[in-house]
């Protein structure tokens, strides 16, 4: 059976992007729990940097998703 090398490359790229998203998501989960703990302890100063960093991480995840979406589109439709 012939495997299209373009398909294999595309899958590798998508798998790499997924791993990156998972790592970013783990950082975001930790960040949310740390910010919440800090807020409940009465330290409000951590809320703004927490929200900004979380937003940046979300933007990175969104960018990676768009990348995955584009690779899927390009490889499958030639």
């Amino acid at each position: 059976m012939n495997i299209d090398p373009r398909q294999t490359r595309g899958l590798t790229a998508i798998d790499g992007a997924m791993v990156l998203i998972v790592v970013l998501l783990m950082v975001q989960i930790w960040l949310l729990s740390a910010t919440l703990e800090s807020y409940l302890a009465g330290h409000r100063e951590a809320a703004l940097p927490g929200a900004i960093i979380s937003g940046v991480l979300f933007a990175a995840c969104l960018g990676l998703y768009l990348f995955v979406d584009r690779v899927d589109s390009e490889v499958r439709r030639g």
Binding site: I14, V22, R44, L64, D69
Partner: protein, 170 residues
């Protein structure tokens, strides 16, 4: 090169439910990535919610409330009361002839009710063995990360009056 996917000439159902195994691997990965990205957005929304709450939260302006009469409880004794609302249980401890301390009775770990152990002279949460200092409410041992919120007391006219809740960092 565009950031976005090219529109398919095939109908959506054919694009999403391909009969080809190779295509199927792409579709499932893309859908899983979408799920992860939405989870990431949920985390971001949670952080935004904390930010909004911290902006809206004002320093507590609590009412004065008589908690007990001085001498009503013996040294080493306790009295339970609610402050500032009926849903906020608190514990008053008489630690000396003329010294009283009061704390929120909700453990800062998972909100179990703490009680005073006279023998050990500390406040104890029975759920997960969290111990708090009677002197300042700080954590001595166990899973809680934060001290117990302290109730500010005033000794006036033979009465103990609660003035407010002192939270760490507030």
């Amino acid at each position: 090169m565009s950031w976005f996917r090219r529109r398919s000439s095939a109908p959506l159902w054919q694009d999403e439910f391909s009969v080809y195994t190779a295509d199927e691997r792409y579709v499932t990965r893309r859908q899983f990535t979408k799920f992860l990205t939405l989870t990431s957005f949920a985390m971001f929304a949670g952080n935004l919610w904390i930010l909004v709450r911290s902006w809206l939260r004002k320093p507590g302006a609590h009412s004065r409330q008589t908690v007990a009469a001085a001498g009503e409880i013996p040294v080493g004794g306790v009295k339970l009361f609610s402050y500032p609302t009926p849903e906020d249980p608190c514990i008053l401890v008489r630690t000396g002839d003329d010294s009283y301390v009061a704390y929120s009775q909700k453990c800062t770990h998972l909100s179990c009710a703490v009680y005073y152990s006279k023998e050990q002279n500390h406040l104890e949460c029975p759920c997960h063995q969290g111990f708090f200092s009677v002197a300042d409410g700080s954590v001595l041992q166990g899973p809680p990360q934060r001290p117990l919120p302290r109730i500010a007391l005033e000794h006036s006219g033979g009465q103990l009056i609660a003035l407010g809740v002192e939270e760490e960092g507030a």
